[in-house]
């Protein structure tokens, strides 16, 4: 597993994926802060008001797409030049290949989220927000199940763009389920809950428990599906 992870990390060298990861949080935060500053007289809930402005579109629509792009990127090299054949004949289990990709994707998303939170914190200080920093807004944990879902799609689908398109459609499905009160049963609505993008109220204990259980459950389920596929399916190289 460690060797697989090191190999995945090595593949990211000189990739400039960092630029792609950094652009979205920076632009989201800039637009959100400007909008907050222009409407400060009606946005009176301190840190949470700023959070609604910076995270609404980022957390609801674009973070899942960023996760999809990162996951597609993690599988990009394997889909080129028949590299899946090389990876699957290497002396490492298929499970290690999946989990190493998942861990690297999750770390890249964590980097994006850390940048976003650092910028949010800095913007809050600059705009002189009253009260303590709301730590519950750190929604990275909820990205883990989306990472597993997107990675499963990106491993199966050779195209870079198609899993990103699925992600956009899944965002809407997640939004629908969230509105219907079934948010804890779908990865993309779990992110809406985790990011507190639409509702800053704390979860009730049952939903909170489900939130913490469903994320790893989805990750394990999707990992199982993917690893089974890697073991049984023929690699499409054409």
């Amino acid at each position: 597993m460690r060797r697989s992870f090191a190999a995945e990390w090595l593949k990211l060298r000189h990739s400039r994926i960092g630029i792609a990861i950094a652009v979205l949080p920076v632009i989201s935060l800039l637009i959100g802060c400007v909008n907050y500053a222009l409407n400060r007289e009606v946005l009176v809930n301190g840190w949470y008001s700023l959070w609604t402005q910076v995270s609404l579109f980022y957390g609801e629509f674009f973070l899942p797409m960023l996760v999809a792009i990162v996951c597609a990127y993690a599988c990009r090299l394997e889909h080129m030049n028949r590299n899946w054949n090389m990876v699957l004949t290497a002396p490492v289990p298929a499970g290690s290949v999946f989990w190493a990709k998942w861990a690297v994707s999750a770390l890249l998303v964590l980097a994006a989220q850390a940048l976003f939170m650092a910028l949010y914190w800095a913007a809050g200080l600059l705009l002189k927000m009253p009260g303590p920093f709301p730590a519950e807004t750190i929604g990275w944990y909820a990205c883990l199940s989306i990472c597993a879902l997107q990675l499963s799609l990106s491993i199966r689908i050779r195209s870079f763009a198609v899993p990103v398109g699925f992600s956009l459609a899944a965002v809407l499905a997640g939004l629908g389920l969230y509105v219907a009160g079934k948010g804890v049963y779908f990865p993309h609505s779990l992110l809406t809950i985790g990011m507190h993008a639409l509702n800053q109220e704390p979860l009730d204990p049952r939903s909170e428990l489900l939130f913490w259980i469903m994320n790893p459950a989805y990750a394990l389920l999707l990992a199982g599906w993917s690893v089974r596929g890697l073991k049984r399916r023929d690699v499409a190289t054409a």
Binding site: I27, R76, F160, V164
Partner: protein, 249 residues
């Protein structure tokens, strides 16, 4: 024309149309649900303008991403299959190959926008909208949406063709969607320079708020924005084509 036909021949099993239908289904379901809720709250909104406005506002989110996906798929198949050298060795200029790919993307986008218009029409008849079907609005809607999408496609194709790594093209599409969705928050002077924010500007209908009441109003075609969008499409197509033609494979 033969180059364009061959582009369609190459994508016959790529299921690009299926992807377009999936994204369209998601967008139009959202538009229909949102309009239905709006009508149930205010029966005055049972007019063609409501569905046209809602769909145009959602286009800002969906169309840039759909455009990025279509163009990326058309270009990525050549990158992945290492077929640029084969294409370059044909007795067809690279400019024509570039134009054929752009033409293929344009036809697929036209298909998506026409399908949108047909779905909106069906929804309007099902809801029994009080006013007459505004054919002129539909034509303007199709033209405006297609124009903005073509401008976005020309930028996307430039990136997708010249940068092998499609992560950057998709990131640009994602940023386009972000700008399209949040375009209404930008000041007029900034928004006019952002092509992705023009879906609403070129829509035949907009909404005005007065005393907490929303009213749909017809808006004239803004010639400066339409000219800027068309100019961006032409310039990016031209420079992108020149760049791709001169770049070493």
């Amino acid at each position: 024309m033969r180059a364009l036909k061959l582009e369609f021949y190459k994508i016959r099993r790529k299921k690009i149309v299926l992807m377009i239908l999936l994204l369209l289904a998601a967008e139009m379901m959202w538009a229909f649900m949102s309009t239905s809720v709006s009508i149930s709250r205010n029966p005055d909104h049972a007019v063609w303008a409501s569905i046209l406005f809602t769909t145009a506002s959602l286009n800002g989110l969906f169309m840039p991403m759909m455009t990025a996906i279509i163009v990326s798929r058309l270009c990525d198949m050549e990158h992945k299959g290492s077929t640029w050298k084969l294409l370059g060795a044909l007795d067809v200029s690279r400019g024509r190959l570039y134009a054929a790919k752009y033409g293929c993307a344009a036809v697929l986008l036209l298909l998506a926008v026409v399908l949108q218009a047909m779905l909106m029409t069906a929804f309007g008849f099902m809801q029994g909208f009080a006013d007459k079907l505004p054919a002129e609005w539909l034509v303007r809607y199709i033209g405006g949406t297609l124009l903005v999408s073509l401008a976005a496609a020309s930028v996307q194709q430039w990136i997708s063709m010249t940068v092998r790594n499609q992560a950057f093209a998709l990131c640009l599409g994602m940023l386009g969607s972000f700008v399209g969705l949040t375009g209404g928050l930008f000041p007029e002077a900034v928004r006019r320079w952002l092509i992705w924010a023009h879906y609403m500007d070129l829509s035949p209908v907009t909404i005005r708020y007065a005393d907490h009441v929303a009213t749909f109003v017809t808006q004239a075609l803004p010639p400066d924005i339409a000219a800027f969008t068309a100019g961006t499409a032409a310039a990016c197509f031209l420079f992108g084509g020149l760049h791709a033609a001169r770049k070493e494979i």
